[in-house]
């Protein structure tokens, strides 16, 4: 556990040394603001809730989280510092989890930066704040989900751009897995039961029910198991690529 915290601290601090992190947070906040106010017509709508804010998160994350995750492992592998990391007396698992948590905490910081809109909506009217809290929890979980995918993919390749693109495609698929576009890919060669399962794995449907204000244990299980799964694969991949 201490090892995880050690890795976490190092990684987390490293984010804020470079200007890249600030740039990312700024872009995230600006895009959030623009989407909420212009695409989501938040002000004109006249309703004191954050639906126009949360509805864009799955799509924003789809673009931005691969950008955060792509450098998690690819950079280390390319520059060779991964050797240093893995020869330390910590297990691969600790390293993977530590890195993941640091990245997730970073996303949380970015989310915290959107607090002005929560304050705004409370200033303008009287929203249901517990529903908004649920929305933030759901958003954080979803970010973790995307991130776990991205972290794993970035361990697969040395090339950050490739990591970005592959992660993006997988995130896109998870977003749309309830839509015909994705299901049609599977329809010819998978049984109907499996098709239904695929459509139940959509990030959108799970997030949608959380941001309505209902925390269903099935959604928690979905996101947690998803993160656990990809982190596990991440560990295996890092092990597999040792020495390459």
């Amino acid at each position: 556990m201490n090892y995880i915290m050690a890795v976490f601290k190092r990684e987390f601090k490293a984010y804020f040394i470079t200007p890249v992190a600030y740039v990312f947070i700024v872009i995230f906040l600006v895009l959030n603001g623009l989407c909420t106010f212009y695409l989501g017509n938040f002000y004109e709508r006249g309703q004191a809730d954050l639906e126009p804010f949360f509805e864009f998160h799955p799509w924003l994350y789809m673009f931005l989280i691969p950008a955060v995750s792509m450098r998690l492992w690819s950079e280390e592998r390319r520059s060779g510092t991964i050797e240093l990391l893995l020869t330390l007396p910590i297990s691969t698992g600790n390293a993977v989890i530590g890195k993941f948590l640091a990245a997730w905490a970073f996303c949380a910081i970015a989310l915290v930066g959107t607090v002005p809109i929560w304050l705004t909506v409370n200033y303008l009217g009287n929203p249901d704040n517990t529903v908004i809290t649920a929305g933030y929890i759901g958003s954080l979980l979803m970010a973790g989900g995307f991130l776990s995918i991205g972290a794993c993919i970035s361990a697969v390749t040395k090339n950050q751009v490739v990591a970005f693109v592959i992660t993006f495609i997988i995130c896109f698929a998870f977003n749309l897995s309830g839509f015909p576009m994705v299901l049609d890919l599977f329809r010819p060669w998978t049984p109907q039961a499996l098709i239904e399962v695929i459509s139940s794995f959509s990030f959108l449907t799970h997030f949608e029910s959380i941001q309505r204000g209902v925390i269903d244990i099935r959604d928690i299980i979905f996101f947690s198991s998803l993160m656990a799964f990809w982190i596990y694969i991440n560990i295996i991949v890092v092990e597999m690529k040792k020495g390459e």
Partner: protein
């Protein structure tokens, strides 16, 4: 190599575990959730639980849900999931008395035929496929109720719809609602003089018919029929003696009465009597004899006006239609609707028009009064004649005087009351009637009456979109007016479990700051606007006078011409100033919007950039 292989196996196993965990939890863990909404939108309410507890014989519910067909239609699919989840909660709570089966009516299957035979409506999904989302519930006798289509838009009413269905199945008898009215509620012209008047049934009547067995009663009836559960009286104008007596006896006998009276009923189609021009028609109903016995009165011929809760209406001006605050039309909300009383609990918005003020005159010790909703303390009273005669709504502001009273619009009276007939009269009657063999008349009894000093609260335009109702018959409420009436009838008629259900749900949470801005700006600029309008009128009058003074005036003197030009340009300028005033009204709201947009889009990033800049500066100089 072996290691590689075992790692791949591990990956595969992890995938299986992940899939299995989610598939199983999807199927099994149906009711494990926390409802974090303030209004508990997703939890079974107590009313529902009461209804489920009242089920004696088992009821079978079949939900027809085209779960496969709906993939790609996320709103139908999620609504179907919501319906299924909710019904599963009902079934779980019922411990076997409710049996639920969820069926997917696939195209050309037997279940599809079954669905259609039951009347479940087809939803076209394009390319010759159809989906279904409906419910059939049957009890162990022959009772069967079908909900042919569960619409996603009706999401907030879903629990009510399901619970009402169950309640109706358990107790199929509709409450009998007596109806006495002089208004054309039923679409029939009652005192019609103007044949072009709208004669379509009021939407509220459709809602009443749907929920109750409505028994229309003649206006001059000498006696209220026995088998009624609730009596509804709307606009008892010029109540005949016989009816007053009948109502008096009805309530003293324990009959439940809901009465809507009005100092100015805008829905009353009576036109002025052509034989007495200049005399305004009587559009008010105020059964003083009855009210007096109940210790209350409605202030005669006076309307509540309230700048703090008045709504804006479209009003034609020379510069085009504008939204102007109309003082007698009020939107009652929040603290002015009594949350503690069961009649009004959970109602969020009530719209009233030209309402009267109810006052407790004689605090009778045996009667209890419960105020249900009222205007704000900034309200005041204006004579109804003034309201009728005033041309421009803004004039009412000048005539308005607040009296620091929060005028009550609706109240409930219960307890021991006396008959409105004086005792000697009643004694005489009793002797006479005994001689002729008729029953004793009641002189006192335990009453329970709901009085509302407005009838326009029931007219379409105060609670539902009139266009959609007139064209498609669909009712889309935007205020709780109908809910209030149905609640009250349900409460009085028994079936109290349904009360809290109907009014749950997401009415709008508006931007209150913006609404307040609108109101404040309106009152601030109103004065300016009035002055400018007076100036404009003067200018226009002078212009007209000048143009007329030139006699048959085609030829004007040079002086007159220049005068006219001067006045014309003054008129133009004044109009411009007026428009600027109106523009200012909108500007404040827009400015707030822009400020919000900047704060949220630019502020934190700018702050961070600043931080980053400082940081780099620090590094450069260290």
């Amino acid at each position: 190599m072996l290691k590689r292989f075992s790692q791949l196996i591990n990956i595969f196993l992890a995938l299986i575990l992940f899939l299995a965990l989610n598939i199983l939890s999807n199927q099994l863990l149906v009711n494990f959730r926390i409802d974090m909404t303030e209004d508990r939108l997703y939890t079974l309410s107590n009313g529902t639980k009461q209804i489920i507890n009242g089920i004696q014989e088992p009821i079978d519910m079949t939900l027809y849900f085209s779960v496969k067909g709906f993939s790609g239609f996320p709103d139908l699919q999620s609504h179907g999931n919501l319906a299924r989840d909710m019904l599963e909660e009902y079934a779980a709570y019922s411990r076997g008395r409710l049996r639920l089966s969820v069926v997917d009516p696939e195209p050309f299957s037997q279940t599809e035929d079954e669905a259609r035979a039951n009347g479940i409506r087809q939803i076209s999904l394009g390319t010759n496929t159809a989906g279904y989302l409906g419910l059939v519930a049957a009890n162990s006798t022959d009772g069967k109720i079908v909900m042919p289509l569960l619409q996603p838009e009706e999401e907030t009413n879903l629990e009510y719809d399901f619970s009402k269905l169950l309640a109706d199945l358990v107790n199929p008898r509709k409450k009998r609602l007596g109806l006495i009215t002089t208004l054309p509620l039923l679409g029939l012209p009652s005192q019609q003089i103007n044949p072009d008047r709208e004669t379509k049934t009021w939407a509220i009547f459709e809602v009443l018919k749907e929920n109750f067995e409505v028994v229309p009663i003649k206006f001059d009836t000498p006696q209220i029929p026995e088998e009624l559960d609730v009596l509804l009286v709307v606009h008892p104008k010029n109540l005949p003696e016989s009816t007053t007596h009948a109502l008096d006896q009805y309530v003293l006998g324990g009959g439940k009465l809901i009465m809507f009276i009005d100092p100015l009923a805008e829905g009353d189609p009576t036109s002025p009597d052509p034989t007495t021009p200049g005399v305004l028609p009587n559009l008010s109903s105020n059964p003083k004899q009855l009210l007096e016995r109940w210790g209350i009165r409605m202030v005669d011929k006076k309307i509540i006006v309230d700048p703090s809760s008045a709504v804006k209406v479209n009003f034609g001006t020379p510069d085009g239609p504008r939204k102007i605050i109309y003082l007698p039309w009020l939107q009652i909300r929040d603290t002015h609707i009594n949350e503690k009383e069961i009649f009004t609990r959970g109602l969020s918005v009530l719209n009233v028009g030209t309402a009267g003020s109810l006052q407790i005159t004689d605090e009778k010790s045996n009667l209890t009064y419960k105020k249900l909703f009222a205007a704000t303390a900034n309200s005041g009273l204006i004579a109804s004649e003034t309201i009728i005669q005033v041309g421009n709504p803004t004039e009412l502001f000048d005539l308005f005087q607040g009296d620091d009273l929060s005028h009550t619009i609706a109240l409930q009276v219960s307890g021991m009351a006396d008959s409105y007939l004086r005792n000697e009269e009643t004694a005489n009657n009793r002797d006479n009637k005994r001689d002729s063999g008729q029953a004793d008349k009641l002189t006192s009894g335990k009453i329970d009456v709901l009085v509302v000093a407005d009838t326009d609260i029931l007219s379409d335009r105060f609670w539902t979109d009139p266009r959609s109702y007139l064209s498609t018959g669909e009712i889309q409420p935007f205020s709780s007016n109908a809910d209030f009436l149905i609640n009250a009838i349900d409460l009085y008629g028994g079936g109290g479990e349904l009360i809290n259900l109907r009014t749950r749900g997401r009415y709008s949470r508006p931007f209150e700051i913006v609404e307040k801005l609108r109101r404040d700006a309106e009152s601030e600029y109103r004065d300016q606007e009035r002055e400018l309008k007076i100036k404009l009128k003067e200018t226009e009058d002078r212009l007209i006078a000048l143009e007329n003074s030139s006699g048959n005036g085609i030829i004007l003197s040079a002086e007159q011409k220049s005068e006219i030009d001067r006045f014309r340009s003054e008129q133009k300028n004044t109009r411009k100033e007026l428009r600027a005033v109106q523009h200012k009204l909108i500007k404040d709201i827009e400015q707030l919007g822009s400020a919000m947009k900047f704060v949220n889009t630019g502020l934190v990033p700018l702050f961070l950039l600043g931080l980053g800049g400082l940081n780099s500066l620090r590094k450069i100089y260290s």
